[in-house]
Subunit: 881 residues, 2 copies
Amino acid sequence: MTAWVHGFGGGVVSSDADKATLGGKGFNLAVMAGLGIPVPPGFTLTTDVCRHTIAHAGAYPDGVRAEVDAALRVVEAATGTRFGDAQNPLLVSVRSGAPISMPGMMDTVLNLGLNDTTVAALAAATGSPRFAWDCYRRFVAMYADVVLGVVAPDDHSASPFERLLEDARSHHGVDKDSDLPESALRELVTAYKAEVKTATGHAFPEDVTDQLWGAIGAVFRSWGNPRAETYRRINGISSAMGTAVTVQAMVFGNLGEDCATGVAFTRDPALGTRALYGEFLVNAQGEDVVAGIRTPESIDTLATVMPAAHAELTAVCARLEAHFGDMQDVEFTIQRGTLWMLQTRTGKRTARAMIKVAVDLVNEGVLDRAAAIRRIDPARLDEVLHPTIDPKARPKAIGKGLPASPGATIGRVVFSADDAQAWQAKGERVLLVRTETSPEDIHGMKAADGILTARGGMTSHAAVVARGMGKCCITGCSGLRVDGARQRMTLGDLTIKQGDTLTLDGSTGEVFLGAAPLIPAKVSGELAELMTWVDEVRRLRIRTNADTPTDAITARAFGAEGIGLCRTEHMFFQPERILAVRQMILAKDEAGRRAALVKILPMQRDDFAAIFRAMDGLPVTIRLLDPPLHEFLPHTDHDMAEVAAELGESIENLRATVVELTEANPMLGHRGCRLAITFPEIYEVQAQAIAEAAALVAAEGVVVHPEIMIPFVFTPKELARLRGQVAAVVDRVLGAAGATIPYLVGTMIELPRACLVADQIAHHADFFSFGTNDLTQTTFGLSRDDVASFLPTYLETDLIPSDPFVALDQEGVGQLIKIGVERGRATKPGLKVGICGEHGGEPSSIAFCHRIGLDYVSCSPFRVPIARVAAARAALDGGTP
Amino acid sequence: MTAWVHGFGGGVVSSDADKATLGGKGFNLAVMAGLGIPVPPGFTLTTDVCRHTIAHAGAYPDGVRAEVDAALRVVEAATGTRFGDAQNPLLVSVRSGAPISMPGMMDTVLNLGLNDTTVAALAAATGSPRFAWDCYRRFVAMYADVVLGVVAPDDHSASPFERLLEDARSHHGVDKDSDLPESALRELVTAYKAEVKTATGHAFPEDVTDQLWGAIGAVFRSWGNPRAETYRRINGISSAMGTAVTVQAMVFGNLGEDCATGVAFTRDPALGTRALYGEFLVNAQGEDVVAGIRTPESIDTLATVMPAAHAELTAVCARLEAHFGDMQDVEFTIQRGTLWMLQTRTGKRTARAMIKVAVDLVNEGVLDRAAAIRRIDPARLDEVLHPTIDPKARPKAIGKGLPASPGATIGRVVFSADDAQAWQAKGERVLLVRTETSPEDIHGMKAADGILTARGGMTSHAAVVARGMGKCCITGCSGLRVDGARQRMTLGDLTIKQGDTLTLDGSTGEVFLGAAPLIPAKVSGELAELMTWVDEVRRLRIRTNADTPTDAITARAFGAEGIGLCRTEHMFFQPERILAVRQMILAKDEAGRRAALVKILPMQRDDFAAIFRAMDGLPVTIRLLDPPLHEFLPHTDHDMAEVAAELGESIENLRATVVELTEANPMLGHRGCRLAITFPEIYEVQAQAIAEAAALVAAEGVVVHPEIMIPFVFTPKELARLRGQVAAVVDRVLGAAGATIPYLVGTMIELPRACLVADQIAHHADFFSFGTNDLTQTTFGLSRDDVASFLPTYLETDLIPSDPFVALDQEGVGQLIKIGVERGRATKPGLKVGICGEHGGEPSSIAFCHRIGLDYVSCSPFRVPIARVAAARAALDGGTP
């Protein structure tokens, strides 16, 4: 028979149920209890119960109640208390615990088991009536909120219980809740209960078993709340797994000055340094620490205040890290000098810490290299590859807060999550500035490049979530006042309005006015060490998409092993060339086009020579002209007049050409190799520039491997013809220069038809490079420029799992790529195959490329290290070939 | 050992070589000789020789010369003459003969073997020195033109030989060549030879063997001339097959009044009526008839002029038709009362004749029905399905010529082939008007809807080519004078300028000014009989694409078995609705959209009801709204102002909406089911209109089978959701009406991804309809609206075999369709699958649909009969499934 309920602590032999069944919190409590670490006894209702309630309209499976009763008896026995007892009552917490951590997303009820009878007993048992009534007051408010749904009338109002509390403070003339007298707390309980009666029509439940089942039901239900659903969507967590509910005997960090509560990381979650790191509050309950309302003290201070407890905590943490083989994030309470561990879980960390901890654990002998590589989420490397503020030109800071999540970023200030999302959708980089953040702000935090809050510590909501997302974040910024209603903030003497630009340095906590000078990230330290390991493991080569020598040099520094895509059109847009390009387009015949191309030739040759030099010894794939010619012409009346004057053309002729070249669907128009089918001279001159550049740098001693790529092919005949034309030019130029330079001519596979006839195309191609951007557009029938009006709805309503322009659609586009690879290699077994396009730097797409046997991926320079790690993880995960 | 040369006639046992080897002309001469029909003896150099010369830079295979010599000896023996003999010389013709007939496209040399010696012998042998010198003069000119390349300096000048001939006529004061005295002909030969010497630097060859090999070489080379290449491209003939060359003893139709030459069809090639049909000229050579210079007499006259020869010709024709089982096109010469057959071949005919001959041959017991169906080229049925002039409102003709190719057509007049092509490319329907046409006009004839010439008979170039192309054509129009240089024509008193509109009736030969009222074609007579046969054979169902009751009724009359595609957007464009559609688009929220949709609902319901009534008992597939909303909005400033006023909207708001909805690539944008994902109310209201219409007409006793089609799906989730929404509305409406009407909900498969995940989509679809237009666009990455700038180059330079928007690309798009069908049926074995899109009416595409096991094709109403025949031919040709 399946057990629906598993006990832990208090001498119970820990269950062998797994994390999927017990949830992360319940599982780890069971593990800690098994290790002999002090945990308050309790029991966990499994995720099976949750799934059962979802499938049965909230009804529990048969037998659950009996199992809960039995487990409760065990807890009573271990603690020497009884649930609802008038003498020695057991109080419990009821918490959610999903198999994958979702911090702050679901509900919790503390101090459950208090009623008008047991509160007196608690007062007697603890010797502190004020404490007992404070617990009772908190419990009623929390229960009413979480279980009974008594909440503020709208998002902008205070909850009724906060309002009553504020009335009490003002009535008693005190500033802090802790200064309220016992009588005030008693009155508050009465007032709270009256509020509940008014709001719900029912009296507050006095029966502790009713309380317990109410709380269990509410926590199970909270799995489906909108906050939690948003979090799961953002983090790719399945809604099917459900949450467990853990009921645990309460321990109190708020029984007096010999009590405390805190959270700790076994290593620094920002930097990864090996040292206990955390915060605590004396005489407080756990929620006080994470809520960010009181500013807590550093865990180092605990060594002074409660040295024994600090020493025990340090020992427990070391033991947990040894057991789990990873940095832990723990919650603890010290009740009258005794340490109780309430939770342990794998600690969230910055990417920098992720790298350092993984590398350190290898060097400490805890992990092997493969395990360390598996610990690296390649997508998160982006964070450490972000620029930092140039130390030589660092401006004066205008403010300083806690360095909650590192990296420097520049953005425009907004004051609400909705604004952040709206501005980001328009292409703006924004900084979300809030007094403090709450789970309702998740979508805005995701949209923002950086987060700045006035309150909260290093473990506040903003800090934890921002680190999880790899965003730069500064919390508890002194002197910051946020006036969201008027869309402005003040920091010291300065007033900053919505839309003003700030720079945040999440590594130091400093805030700067305007855009500070940034310098690119480097691969050094632990990251460099990690990179040597991943390079030993991976099979995929990593190239870069680079159109300029600067990009090429950057990418090479990040480990790029060649250029997978050098787009020649970007070179055409430079001011000194666009004139000649336009002359070419406006020419009436081939002779006119050739005359203009001759002017472009030396410039292109110099471009290619510089790139070849930067990539000395490595292959460089140059894509011949791809975009429709239209893109090079001006479109507004003003620009047309200017260009016509420059060219010495009539504006009518220019306008007529613009109209003639305008296309209904330029993405599917006269572009790619179609340009060279109608105007062969364009590719011929580009081939000449490539060959001349290759001969030039080869004479300087540079080792050059040009790979000429012909785009947008749908039939082998296009490639056969253009390959012949291009190779004839290259051979002629190299022959004339007396240079022997091996070169390749290949094609970009970016249309469904090209995948389907890849066997024939391969006869004429030395390599294939999948252009996954266009292939995604054509396979889905989706113009990347036009998705804004409907793709968000598709994502929000789960019609597609992710944006197919970000993560490769393996199910559809991936099938075509597999067909293309298989058929291409059926014709030419050794065919070199790669991908270029945004997907080349996205980890799940890279894993796919590994599995289907590509030779390389090509991505933007800053994503090269990400791709290297992703390729290594893919190799470790195996999969054909 | 392969024989390079095969003899025929003169007692030689006919070779068993096939048509591919001997060419059509050589093969049929051999067949005729074998049947004992009188043919002048001769021999054929095979197509193998041609291919050998192409592969070997013009060099002949070893042994050819010896074989030709031997064959020549046989001809000499049979005719009692000797080649080059001073007493009794053999004269021969040298003609091309490809395996597939290419009339007038390649070169011919007649009277070969004449020189200064043999001309005297010919004079003596025939007793007519004038005849001998006339032959010599013709031979020198023809040989100089065809073999030696002595031609006019440009296309607009007369050839040097024509010029000399004209000088001679004027010098001797005569109008006709036949009035020139023998002395003048002798002088002309001298002058011609001097012209050859001047132009080529060499004397005209006196040696008859040199003459023969010169002519053989020239005819082989003429296989590759541009005219022939154009013809092959238009007619889809492979350039690899090559031509044969037939050398045959000359017989003379120009030896006097007891001589004649002519061409005949065994049945009327325009109407198909069973009777000898043709033309002849007394005292003429064959080229005189087909060149259209002298207007020939009807073959019926031959019965009076030369009754014996006419009787023998009639008997020969009957024998040929019995042997070949099809209508023949023959050439004959009567030399001094004796009939000689020079050629027989399958006769080209109009589509009307094609149908009548095939049906008659079945009824005469010559063919079975399957063979008759195989004789029908379904693409050519278009001709008989063209409109005719309404007999009740027939205007007065302004001119009359020969009814050379039937059908009525309206177009704007142009006077050159280039103009015809240019105007047609701009979307104009044009009529090509010429004094007479020549092979150089082919591209213009292809571009024109109809052809009108001043000269030439029923077998002139214009007539033969037009019938082959299925174009309306009138030749020999009396009183027509064409002034191409001034771009005008006169017909009687009328002057007609380029761009003026005429109507041609190719069935009567009448010409009308302006646009005459046309009425649609009907399926009756032999066509109706044929249609009953094809319907017994075919397996594919034929539906139609119809958006209106009128189209539906037309299509049903043509045999449509349902509607495969009813586009609802066309209904939206009608003036009284577009206002409500625009209100919907401009609405700020769902309530506003619903308010506008409510106005459209009753109109759509009435549309659907009318279509359901027209298709009583047959299925009707209705596609829900597909185009981007943008298409319904005005775009010019003027139209925007007008529409803004109509709507009571500010022009700024309207303009802002237009800008907001403008897409970079609307074909890949917010359209199809994406509209309903973002605005579900659109499809809900359409579903309501369909269900209300169905209930309405069902109550009238109409049997209605609605099939609701959801377009542009790329993931099964779209279909699952929208199917649910649509079915909920339909069920609610039908339920409320108390109607039990079975209906289907399916999807259009028109994106590559939909084909790839068809197994999943099929779970939610009652049917698939492949939208091959959009599938072609996305598979090729080709916007149909933007191909004009490069697709012609692709077609002209053989990068693609045909326009993929006309004939389905079986190699690429076809693969995706096969994948879609196989996967869809793997999920749902009985899944109904069809195609809609232009390809549904194109024969090669229909054959493909049959082979891959589709249930139906859907095409435009006028193409339904074509589709029925194509489906039958596909069924006869077999193929899986």
